[in-house]
Symmetry: C2
Subunit: 216 residues, 2 copies
């Protein structure tokens, strides 16, 4: 069932390369892995390996055709394929994701958002309707939802996840700061903002232990 598998670490870099190549395509015909590596401060062996996962190898001297490489990256990333998506939890973060335009390239089509707050029902954010959370099952089944975005409070994240999985959702994008349990075959990608902050703040304290910052 599986097509050629691309390592996750590579997959994380592909959107970055793609964005860069798109910014160059009107100016440059060919590009080398070395030039891309230099742009991002990466090792060029790594870049060559990443590009090798979606393309052949570049030609000696000329490198890769920029337009071909763009097409190959878009194919690998599934541009143009629509993914039916719902979002659960229309708080600040949920609303931001609803209005954020950056996901369109990935074919993410947010059909609806759900919330337990009756005051939000029937309102629209970013053009998407906010519905009662009791309608989750009906919409998931009816619209064949594949991807669920979880922006609910952490206390109800697991039960929200369980409901989505029970409806056949196969991929979960989790913004609640917890570890979700899912059956085999379902993928969870965690966007744990608190963990990122913990790492940055730890760095700051280690860089300057007397770090106080009472300044105003």
């Amino acid at each position: 069932m599986r097509e050629k598998s691309i390592p996750i670490s590579t997959l994380r870099r592909l959107p970055v390369y793609l964005h860069y190549l798109n910014s160059l395509k009107d100016k440059v015909t060919n590009i080398s892995a070395t030039a891309i590596a230099e742009e991002f401060g990466l090792n060029d062996v790594q870049v060559r390996k990443d590009l090798g996962a979606v393309s052949g190898s570049g030609r000696p001297k000329t490198g890769y055709s920029v337009t071909e490489l763009i097409a190959q990256l878009e194919a690998a990333l599934g541009y143009g394929i629509k993914t039916n998506t719902i979002l659960v939890g229309a708080g600040n973060l949920g609303k931001a994701l609803l209005t954020y335009g950056g996901f369109a390239d990935y074919g993410i089509d947010i059909i609806a958002a759900f919330d337990t707050n009756p005051a939000l029902w029937g309102t629209f954010v970013g053009g998407k309707p906010i519905l009662p959370d009791c309608d989750i099952e009906a919409v998931c089944t009816d619209k064949k939802i594949e991807l669920g975005i979880i922006t609910v409070p952490v206390e109800v994240a697991q039960q929200t996840c369980d409901r989505l999985v029970a409806c056949g959702v196969q991929a979960i994008w989790n913004f609640a700061p917890t570890i979700l349990r899912v059956p085999d075959g379902v993928m969870v990608e965690n966007e744990n903002l608190a963990s990122s902050l913990a790492i940055l703040c730890k760095h700051l304290r280690e860089a300057s232990p007397q770090h106080s910052s009472e300044c105003s």
Copy 2:
């Protein structure tokens, strides 16, 4: 200069444990690493190692005191220490972060946000003023800004980062989908939403190659 170093993978899990322990503290006095591991579907050797990085080892039979462990986790994560922060780029995502309340526990004090759009100057989002981006240097210096949140378009992310670093900012939380270059001693934590989506969409296509989703 460095205090006892906690591995980054451990650091990512600590906020999750802390949140869980806080939810239990009124009900439970002691907890074992095994119980925490079971809650999150983790290996208990891993949890024991994680907790060992911030605490002694649990007592045989009784495990850890919940309140002590909470205090040790908070100390390790630097709760109560204020971190002067600015945000650059007050678009949808920037505004969401300004209004999101979840960072207060980490002592993140967003002093101001900056944008190039004059229509936003002098307005407030989440109680934070939006200022002209030409004021970045003055505010960073005056307020001793340590952490910079970058939510600008990718094309100007590197130059924004360079400006912050030149002002002495030591930690960058980057939401622009690119790889930022920083000098040694400055830490970048990337929150690349596009990369997360790429991984999830790839999983969906590998799970069902005929994935079409023209349903309405």
